[in-house]
Symmetry: C2
Subunit: 224 residues, 2 copies
């Protein structure tokens, strides 16, 4: 085989990088740490990916391509079944956020590790990764936003965009799972294994998101 060793090295680097970027952030993770954990030579990253930044992009691309394609597939499916009629908001929210959390239960897709890395990186704005993620998400966001506009014709579009934003925040922060304040709240949550907790997280999060999405519209103070 002409690439047996090579693909193995690439995958090992990507797996190690995913875990380490999640744990220590991009700047906090050195090439020596990555190649050490992957048990490959220091130069292998630059040979296979070109640079550290390109490696980070590849870590994301490996998972996001699948995730966002799946999200589009789900939405296509929903819209096909609805035959032109507006979708229920709960279905749209589940298509976007449910698909994400369900991916985390599939270890072959990176499991919770990638989920945490994603949540963390969405609030960590290195310029080059922002541009990359924006492009990677462009189509999906556009489609889901449009679906929400259609599903909630009486709600001002600006309000929907804001609430979509809030939902993204609640989800990202939750899946980052390493927030500083978790130490404080003496976590009387069930100590089941990660998959069990993930099972119950999805309904919990979904209730919260839908409650927020359908909340009464805010009233602004007069500042004319």
């Amino acid at each position: 085989m002409t690439e047996g060793r090579s693909t193995d090295t690439r995958e090992r680097i990507l797996d190690a990088a995913e875990t380490l970027f999640m744990a220590h952030g991009y700047d906090g993770t050195s090439m020596r740490l990555i190649t050490g954990a992957a048990e490959v030579n220091l130069a292998a990253v630059n040979y296979h990916f070109g640079s550290k930044g390109a490696l980070l992009q590849e870590v994301f691309r490996r998972r996001l391509d699948w995730l966002n394609a799946e999200r589009l597939r789900v939405l296509d499916d929903l819209e096909r079944k609805a035959g032109g009629k507006p979708l229920k908001p709960s279905l749209i929210v589940d298509g976007y956020f449910g698909t994400l959390l369900r991916m985390a239960q599939d270890e072959a897709c990176g499991g919770v590790t990638f989920l945490r890395l994603l949540g963390r990186t969405l609030t960590e704005p290195s310029d080059f990764i922002r541009a990359f993620l924006a492009n990677e998400y462009k189509e999906v966001i556009e489609r889901y936003k449009a679906a929400l506009f259609k599903a909630l014709p009486d709600v001002p579009k600006a309000e929907i965009v804001w609430r979509f934003h809030f939902m993204l925040g609640a989800t990202s922060y939750t899946i980052a799972g390493t927030d500083a304040l978790r130490l404080v709240t003496d976590w009387q949550i069930e100590d089941a294994d990660a998959n069990d907790r993930l099972d119950r997280l999805l309904p919990r999060l979904m209730s919260f998101l839908l409650g927020g999405l359908r909340a009464p519209l805010p009233e602004f103070p007069d500042n004319a």
Copy 2:
């Protein structure tokens, strides 16, 4: 005066560090960048604060001491007026998150810059800063959690903790304000100045948070 030059240098360093940590993260901000922006000598940080890590802590302490004291004061006030009866959830949520966002409108308290730094750092878990923030928030979180338990006696405590967590996420992510996906959503938001946007953000966020907090309880799939 025995400290004129000194306090000025300290403040300039803290201001510069606050802005730069916000923009580039902790690891991404070098001492040379900080001291350059503050127009002080490179050695000044180590002289006045001891180390880069201690500087970061001081950046937070300067704002958080006031913020969390104010949160406690507000809660004390509410509970005193209620005279032992449970508080309305909206008042509790406003006491916690409203106080935070109102602080951002006071430029003397750091304004949006500190708000963004806080939002960003809450998901950026350097071990030492996690421990510091956990300690800094300990009392406030405990008090507000207890108030919510009392205000919502029919809701399981675990559920309240989760939803408090989701609220923290939505808020942190929003105030970080630098999330990667903002580029995507062609932001048809009013182009008013920062304070105007902040004026309307608070009611918007509050509606969302309360909607989520009061949402119907989730139903879990049977996995017995």
